[in-house]
Amino acid sequence: MIKRQQQIRRALALLALLAFGFIGLGFRLVDLQVWRHDELAKLAEKNSEQKIWQLAKRGDVLDANGNLLATSVPVKTVWANPLLIGNQQAVVARALAPLLQMNEGDLYQRLLPRVWKNPKGETATNQYVVLQRKVSEGTWQKIYSTMTNLSLTADEIKMSKTERANYKVFSRNLRQYAVSAEQDQSRVYPNGALAAHVLGFVESRDTTNHSSELFGCDGIEKSFDSKLAGASGWRVTGVDSRNRELVAMRDEDVDARDGLTVVLTIDSVVQNIVESELAKAMKEHEPVSITGIVTRPRTGEILAMASLPDFNPNDLRTINTNTEPNLAISHVMEPGSTFKTIVISGALNEHVVSLNDTVFCENGLFHYGGITLHESESHHFGNLTVEQVLQKSSNIGASKIGIKLQAPKLYDYMTDFGLGAFTGIPLPGEASAKNYVRPADKWGKYSIVQIPMGQGVAVTRLQMAMAVSAIANDGVLMRPMLVKRLQDPDGNVVQQYEPQAVRHVISEATAKEMVEALKTAVSDDGTAPLARIANYTVAGKTGTAQKVVNGTYSNDRFVVSFIGFFPADDPQICISIVMDSPKEGGRAFGGALCGPVFSKIGAACASYLNIPPDQNSQQPNPPPLVAKTQNLR
């Protein structure tokens, strides 16, 4: 009986034990599956699932003929997990430093494991250390091969069996997983500095998904950044214990959408011609800067736009405050005598004067409102026709025509020609010069004699080039066109841009009269005989503007320019050349310095663009520079 009771007690005790055990297990089950479900589910997901980002290739930039101006090439970002390197930093650093082109000591420091407390108070380690960015595919293959065949310093013979087994796992992890690479891309400009100010440049910034992305900082790269960038793709997938993707466990799989290709109106050959000639002029005349713009007057297409000094977008170290600005659009200047084209266009259009009307040019001294305008010695003219005022670039003649036109009308024509407003070119950093083109009611007492000769008003080089292009285009001002179309990576057109007329500024008849007058500027008696192009009739206007230094007009620092187009009666291209402060100082004139540059660029462009000559016989060579220098304004 006692024995039976003892048996029952033991059975109950066992039952209680089992019950406690089951209750404990049940509690743990509820703890894991219910209370800590979310936390543990995330952990489990993290261990077995991975989100792989797919990089979108940044779109190319092409010129009008499909030549590559900017492209992206795939490269690698090489990174290391110092926790897998153990105490082998010296070996790894010695092996990889030459391949990564890094200092061995710096690399050693980067490979050291570090532990710290993050803001949440949790312990964090450096499991992702970027060693080098923009590593080529070939270099990465060498790095991978070096790591796979790495000779470690540990002596396996002295190790116990367990230590040897652990060491085997460690060495395998080090060789295979300690140094890895991620897809990245690098921006390449195959032609170096060609059209650098139009293209701009890119920089890269880190993203949250362990990769970097390129973003445009200037030029087309900036203004079309959203179109060029594309959209990254991603893939959520299962991974095995060695972090290899399990294709069968792919979940979300979204392909990256590559960026669009931007096709410019820029012609790289014309751009090259312009940049080569500007570089020669820069060397010869040593100006602070020089710019050249080539447009098609009929459409407003920009065939070339260059400023020197420039930079190489492949090498960001060449970019500084001197080289970065695109002077053609971002800097304002007093236009000087090229502005007379606007005054006289307005006066002809309003029928205030005609080309044959005579203007008395006061023999070089004009008293107005208590001030006296002085012409230079070579410009002491008596009576000149309006056409001759343009031909000889008489300041007093232009002022008198401005007075006849009157300030409100002159202001209207200035704004109608696009001065004081953004041209609408799709480039960042454009200046409108609005503050320098003031309404007539805010003009000073002498503004009406100053402004017609191009003083007391400021414009950008592009605004002035487009204004003269409007005269060439029968009086219609066009919006400058820099982008022809956007296309997808397969070449399908996504968006086509068409030429846009802004407004009809002057009548066709007035424009034709202006063309006739501007033709005389390149005659032997004009200010720019050196701007002539053999076999083509050129029309254009010189400009020589004194620079304001310390609040007064300098006598030895000038901005000289020439803007012209040809063939004059059926203009195919308009070229603007502007030099800032050439070394000639007080002897610098637009016709003498910019005229030859215009002529060389024009001749080369005419040959390349196959522009039919409008003169059958070869013109005699332009007169020598020395003989006419005094008349060149």
């Binding site: 590559l68 090439v73 595919e137 060609l194 993707e245 069968a248 040959s607 000559p613």
Partner: protein
């Protein structure tokens, strides 16, 4: 005549044995099939991964070569090459270019020039 019960009970009952054997085969087959299928999934997954990697590599090479070709075709590269080779090539002078005006189709039809060309004697074209 009485039945021999002993011999009857001792006889082999094939039906249930076959059914059991069949069930075993089905279960074993399903298990082997499952494992084989898993193996295939893994093998094909690896194949897909390798081929995707190869495709990416080829696309990258293609892009690199296309860029290289574009660079060699670029006017600047050609210009540099021409200058480097010193072939004496230069742009044609505008007056050296002979321009033939394109005939307007309407005017040709009016003048029956198509018929005139067609009617030209053979000897005149061979001279």
């Amino acid at each position: 005549m009485a039945k021999n019960r002993n011999s009857q009970s001792a006889s082999i009952r094939f039906g249930p044995a076959l059914a059991a054997l069949f069930a075993c085969f089905v279960i074993a087959g399903a298990a082997v099939g499952y494992v084989w299928q898993k193996g295939e999934i893994y093998r094909l997954g690896k194949q897909i991964r390798d081929r995707e990697s190869r495709l990416a590599q080829l696309q990258s090479d293609d892009k690199r070569l296309a860029d290289q070709l574009a660079l060699l075709h670029s006017p600047m590269a050609l210009d540099r090459r021409v200058q480097g080779l010193k072939l004496g090539l230069a742009p044609a002078h505008p007056m050296q270019v002979v321009r033939l005006p394109e005939p307007v189709l309407g005017s040709l039809e009016n003048k029956n020039s198509v018929l005139k060309f067609a009617a030209r004697p053979v000897e005149s074209t061979t001279q």
